[in-house]
C-alpha cells in the first residue's frame, strides 16, 4: 500500500470565523476540511461555549505543505490580531494522494 505525505493544519478559533475560514482555505487550494465544535482556553482567556459569543471551532485541513503554509500565514495575518486563534501543523500520510 502506497502512502503519500501530507500536512495536517489545525486551526482552533472563535466560531464567528467559521464561514470565513471555509472560504479562505478553498481559495488557497485545499480540497476539504473538517470542523468540530470545541471549548478551550488560551492566552485570550477561557471560552466555555456556554453562549453564542463564547463558542469555538476546531478546523482540520489535510493538504500539501505549500498550501498549509499559505493558509496559515494568511489566517495569522488577517485574523490572529483580533480573534482568539491557535494554529498548528502535523505530518500525516494518506492513501489517495490526489484527493487532498
Amino acid at each position: 500500500m502506497q502512502t503519500h505525505p501530507k500536512k495536517l493544519l489545525v486551526i482552533i478559533g472563535e466560531s464567528a470565523l467559521e464561514k470565513f475560514l471555509v472560504r479562505d482555505i478553498k481559495q488557497f487550494g485545499a480540497h476539504g476540511y473538517t470542523i468540530a465544535d470545541v471549548r478551550g482556553g488560551g492566552t485570550h482567556g477561557t471560552r466555555e461555549a456556554v453562549w453564542e459569543g463564547d463558542r469555538s471551532i476546531r478546523m482540520e485541513v489535510i493538504c500539501d505543505e505549500a498550501v498549509a503554509k499559505k493558509i496559515a500565514e494568511y489566517v495569522l495575518s488577517v485574523y490572529a490580531i483580533n480573534f482568539s486563534l491557535s494554529l498548528y501543523f502535523g505530518d500525516v500520510t494518506v492513501i489517495r494522494g490526489d484527493k487532498f
Binding site: 461555549a49 456556554v50 463564547d54
Partner: protein, 314 residues
C-alpha cells in the same frame, strides 16, 4: 420583582458558587429562537389589526431614536471613558441596539401592572435592533485613523445585520403573525403563547449563568464602565419615555419604549460587530451589557422606567 427574575438570580448565584449547573448549548439556542419567534408572532398578530398610516409615523420616530442613541453614547465613552475609537463605537452600538429578553421581561411586568399597551410593540423591537449597530460601525470606520479606516463592505455588512438570526426570526414572526392573523396563529398558541413565561424563566436562568461568568471581564474593564452601564440605561430610558409620550403611546407602551431604549443588545450586536468591527474588544461591550445593564434593568430598571413613564402620563 417578577418571579422570572428569581430564575436569573438563581443562575447568577449558582455560577458565583461555582456550581456545575450548565444548560446544554442546544437548549440555549432553542430558547432564544423560541423567544424571538414568539415575540414576533405576538406582535405580528396585533400589527395586522392596526392601520399602517397609524403605525408608520411611530415607527419612523422609533428608528430615529435608534440612530441617535449611539451618537450620544459614543463621545461619553471616547472622551470620558478614554476607550479607543473601536471600543467606544462597539459599546455605543450595543447600547443603541436593544435586548429582546429585557423587552420580554418588561412585557411580563407591564401585563402584571395591568396597564394598557400597544400590543404591536414587538415591531419596535425589530426596528430598534439594527440602527444602533449600523451607526456604531459607521462611527468606528469614519473616525478611525490610518490603516484601520477601512472601507465598509456595505453588502457584507447589510447581510450580517439583516440576515442575522434575531432579525430574521423577529421579522419572520411579525410577518407570519400578521399574515396568519389571530385565527391562524390560534392553534399554535399552546406552544408560542402559553409556554412563553416559563420559557422566559428558563432562559433567564441561563442568562444568569452567563452574566455571572462575565464578572471577571468587568474587573478588567474598570469602574468607568460599571457606572456607564447603570447611568446610560437610566438616561436612555428617559429619552425613550419622552419619545413614547410624544408619539402618543399609552402608559404601557411608553414604559416599553423606555425599556427598549434602556436595554443593551447582547444577541444581535455582538454577533454583527464581531465580524464588522473585529478590532473592538468584545469583553468590554458584552461585559457591560450583560454583566451590568441587563441585571440592573431586570431588577431596578424596569420598575424605575415605569415610574418615569407614569410621571409623563399624569
Amino acid at each position: 420583582m417578577d418571579p422570572v427574575v428569581l430564575f436569573f438570580l438563581l443562575g447568577v448565584i449558582a455560577r458565583l458558587l461555582k456550581s456545575d449547573l450548565k444548560l446544554p448549548d442546544a437548549l440555549y439556542e432553542t430558547l432564544s429562537i423560541y423567544l424571538l419567534l414568539a415575540i414576533g408572532l405576538k406582535g405580528g398578530v396585533e400589527l395586522a389589526k392596526h392601520p399602517v398610516a397609524m403605525v408608520a409615523p411611530q415607527a419612523i420616530a422609533v428608528i430615529a431614536m435608534g440612530l441617535v442613541l449611539p451618537l450620544l453614547a459614543y463621545p461619553v465613552l471616547r472622551f470620558l471613558g478614554k476607550f479607543n475609537t473601536f471600543d467606544s463605537a462597539a459599546i455605543a452600538a450595543h447600547y443603541g441596539s436593544v435586548s429582546v429578553v429585557t423587552f420580554a421581561v418588561g412585557l411580563a411586568f407591564v401585563i402584571k401592572q395591568g396597564v394598557a399597551f400597544e400590543e404591536y410593540m414587538p415591531l419596535f423591537v425589530a426596528l430598534l435592533e439594527v440602527p444602533g449597530i449600523v451607526v456604531g460601525i459607521l462611527l468606528a470606520r469614519t473616525l478611525a485613523q490610518g490603516s484601520a479606516r477601512k472601507k465598509i463592505h456595505w453588502g457584507a455588512l447589510a447581510h450580517e445585520i439583516f440576515l442575522g438570526k434575531s432579525v430574521v426570526l423577529l421579522v419572520g414572526g411579525l410577518l407570519i403573525g400578521s399574515f396568519a392573523g389571530p385565527q391562524g396563529i390560534d392553534p399554535m398558541r399552546g406552544l408560542f403563547f402559553d409556554l412563553f413565561k416559563g420559557v422566559l424563566a428558563l432562559f433567564l436562568l441561563e442568562m444568569g449563568l452567563v452574566a455571572a461568568s462575565r464578572v471577571t471581564d468587568l474587573k478588567r474593564a474598570g469602574p468607568f464602565l460599571i457606572v456607564f452601564g447603570i447611568v446610560t440605561p437610566v438616561v436612555f430610558s428617559m429619552i425613550g419615555a419622552a419619545l413614547g409620550r410624544l408619539i402618543g403611546l399609552s402608559l404601557g407602551g411608553t414604559t416599553l419604549l423606555a425599556i427598549l431604549a434602556a436595554s443593551a443588545s447582547y444577541i444581535a450586536a455582538p454577533a454583527a460587530l464581531r465580524i464588522a468591527l473585529p478590532e473592538a474588544n468584545p469583553t468590554l461591550s458584552i461585559g457591560a451589557a450583560l454583566g451590568i445593564t441587563f441585571p440592573f434593568n431586570l431588577t431596578l430598571g424596569i420598575p424605575l422606567y415605569f415610574e418615569i413613564a407614569k410621571r409623563l402620563h399624569f
